[in-house]
């Protein structure tokens, strides 16, 4: 099964839609969670920063500026000598803004909340080759009468949390989307298997084998139910087709036998009638009429047979070029007897998958039409070529009177004849037969204007 067919399948597209929906909802849930968690942790962090500041302010109130300086120096020294930038940071500035103590480098004095970034080991990895991390620090500055006390705590906890939540979210979303796609592919394959089975069976049924039924591929309750219903419908069609064929054959048998007896009797009567008598000429006329009824009957049965598609069983690769050459050679003298010119342009080696006898009949019908209706002195042209996609194309052109545009669609219908051709012999089934044969070969008959004349194309 081709992957791109699976990917274009309806179930896969549904899977794709679900995957997208899932991804969007994951982003929403993840985003809200992250936002709330970050908010909470930030508030906690600020509380801790304030507590730290309060503790030191209490020292300042009890022990004065010098006591505070000592305390800050002691607290700062705990992290001295380490490149670890996580944890609590301090800075004490005097009134001029000069650093008095602390582990942070001097900052411009400020009041309230602030932030800074530190570069160092932010993830606890002791490896000296580890790339330095950038850690942001939440600061709070309190203005004292002799300077500024700044306390801060690194945000690495929040950063770590965000990173964890984000990566968990991404992995989760990725896996979810992947699972949804995989599920889509699997469902798509199952339903495609069913669709393929249906299509193949339908092709066979339309081809010839009316007794074929859809296999039960176990594609789920709904599809199995559909399969059962299609099979029941096919049962019904087969019943009707068999009935129709039976009726047609019965009519053929029941009508053709008495008609042929009638023709035999009339032919006998002709031989017994006096030469030149009026009754003889009437009998000859009756024989002709009977013959034409029988011919019309045969043509109708033949069209019905072709349309039933049973002939596809005998399909094979036909050398259309050779067939056309042979028929052209056969009909060139007929055209010459009608004072017509017959030209051919046949691409050697052009083949067509089909029924040789029927293709022959189709060519003959087209050529005989041209001979019969294009008039004396006209030129006919038969071309057999390979079209753009390599498929065989047939065209018969003449420069006779042609068919008015308004009537072109109707002349291929059964029994439709142009007003002026009603007096010429013919059943009015010639082009209907050509159309049926073309359709059997999955082709169509296209009539066009040759300015002047008619172009009949089989495409």
């Amino acid at each position: 099964m081709q992957l791109n067919r699976v990917l274009r399948g309806q179930p896969f597209r549904i899977g794709l839609r679900y995957a997208a929906l899932f991804a969007v909802s994951m982003v929403l849930v993840g985003g809200v969670t992250l936002w709330r968690l970050t908010g909470n942790m930030e508030a906690d962090l600020r509380t801790s920063v304030m507590e730290e500041s309060d503790t030191l302010q209490a020292v300042y109130r009890q022990e004065g500026w010098d006591g505070l300086t000592d305390e800050v120096a002691i607290e700062s020294s705990l992290s001295a000598g380490s490149d670890d930038v996580r944890g609590t940071h301090y800075l004490l500035l005097d009134r001029r803004g000069e650093k008095v103590a602390g582990d942070l480098s001097a900052l411009r004095p400020f009041s309230g909340w602030g932030s800074t970034t530190l570069i160092g080991n932010g993830d606890g990895d002791p490896d000296p080759d580890d790339d330095p991390d950038v850690v942001s620090v939440v600061l709070h500055s309190t203005e004292l009468s002799q300077g500024w006390l700044i306390t801060g705590i690194s945000r690495h906890g929040i950063d770590d949390m965000q990173e964890t939540v984000l990566s968990a979210g991404l992995w989760g979303a990725g896996a979810g989307v992947l699972l949804a796609l995989l599920g889509g592919v699997l469902m798509s394959r199952t339903s495609l298997r069913w669709v393929d089975a249906v299509n193949q069976t339908m092709d066979e049924i339309m081809g010839s084998n009316l007794s074929r039924r859809l296999p039960n591929v176990g594609a789920g309750k709904d599809l199995d139910e559909l399969t059962r219903n299609i099979n029941r419908m096919l049962d019904r069609i087969e019943e009707l087709m068999v009935g129709l064929r039976q009726v047609t054959n019965d009519i053929a048998h029941d009508m053709r036998t008495p008609l042929s007896r009638l023709k035999q009797t009339l032919e006998q009567a002709v031989t017994q009638a006096e030469d030149g008598s009026e009754s003889r000429s009437l009998l000859v006329k009756s024989v002709m009429e009977t013959r034409s009824i029988l011919e019309t009957f045969d043509a109708l049965l033949r069209i019905a047979e072709i349309e039933a598609g049973a002939r596809r069983i005998s399909f094979a690769d036909v050398d259309l070029a050779a067939l056309a050459e042979e028929i052209a050679e056969t009909y060139r003298p007929v055209a010459e007897d009608h004072d017509q010119h017959f030209q051919t342009e046949i691409e050697p080696g052009t083949t067509l998958y089909g029924d040789r006898d029927l293709l022959g009949q189709m060519l003959v019908n087209l050529i005989e039409n041209a001979i019969q209706y294009s008039g004396t002195g006209s030129t006919m042209h038969l071309t057999v070529s390979r079209g753009d996609n390599g498929a065989a194309e047939i065209a018969v052109l003449d420069n006779g009177p042609g068919i008015p545009a308004a009537e072109r669609a109707r002349v291929v219908e059964r029994f439709y004849r142009l007003e002026k051709s009603r007096t010429t012999p013919g059943s009015g089934l010639g082009l209907a037969l050509v159309k049926a044969i073309a359709a059997l070969h999955h082709r169509r008959l296209v009539l066009a204007d040759n300015h002047p004349g008619l172009i009949a194309r089989i495409l």
């Binding site: 053929a252 036998t257 042929s260 049965l301 033949r302 003298p333 007929v334 006898d357 003959v364 019969q372």
Partner: protein
């Protein structure tokens, strides 16, 4: 010739029996498939004429059974079915020829004649000859009185079929079926036209005609004066 006609339609049967008797053939007739099968298996017939639709055992089954039992008598099917599948089916079952009703008696007689006188196994001929006319099947050339005659491929095939049936009448329909594989009735006089072109090449320049028209039946090629 000894003929067996298995046909249930009484009127058609008597018409055919009378016709064959007038031509000097001996005809046995039966109307039932089972009886026909027994007669065909027991008797010595040159040609069997079998209707496809019969009471009892149908025509197709009769021929299948006979061929299964090793009876090789030529069979001509008569039928009202026009479908080509039926024709193919009939020939596949072991039938040698196939004629769709309605047909003229002359058409049937010509075909029965062709079947009955068919040599058991045609020897590998390299040349076909009738009087002064000679066809070399290897070099695919035709000459009359030593004069080479140029023929188109279709004309060559037409002449070859006539020569293979020399002395026997071949009908227009037989020519359409065997030379052109047309299973339908053309609207133009394509057979007549092609025969007359052939005649213009093989007969016209010479003193007496070999290819004759048998009015209302068909054509025959022979060397009789």
């Amino acid at each position: 010739m000894n003929l067996l006609l298995i046909e249930d339609d009484a009127e058609t049967a008597s018409y055919l029996v009378r016709g064959f008797q007038e031509l000097g053939h001996v005809v046995d007739r039966c109307a039932d498939g089972r009886e026909g099968l027994l007669m065909a298996g027991a008797g010595q017939y040159d040609v069997l004429i079998v209707d496809r639709r019969l009471p009892g055992v149908d025509g197709l089954q009769i021929v299948k059974t006979l061929r299964g039992a090793g009876v090789a008598t030529p069979v001509l099917f008569l039928t009202t079915m026009t479908a080509i599948d039926d024709r193919v089916e009939g020939l596949a079952a072991g039938g040698d020829d196939y004629l769709v009703k309605p047909f003229s008696f002359e058409e049937l007689a010509a075909r029965v004649n062709a079947l009955g006188r068919r040599p058991p196994l045609p020897p590998q001929e390299t040349a076909l000859r009738v009087g002064p006319l000679e066809m070399d099947l290897v070099t695919r050339t035709v000459s009359r009185d030593g004069v080479k005659i140029e023929l188109q491929p279709v004309e060559f095939r037409l002449l070859e079929y006539l020569l293979r049936n020399r002395g026997r009448v071949v009908t227009r329909t037989m020519l359409m079926e065997r030379v052109w594989s047309f299973q339908f009735e053309p609207r133009t006089s394509v057979v007549e036209t092609n025969v007359s072109r052939l005649r213009a090449k093989i007969d016209k320049p010479f003193d007496h005609p070999l290819l004759r028209t048998v009015r209302g039946v068909g054509y025959v090629i022979d060397a009789t004066e």
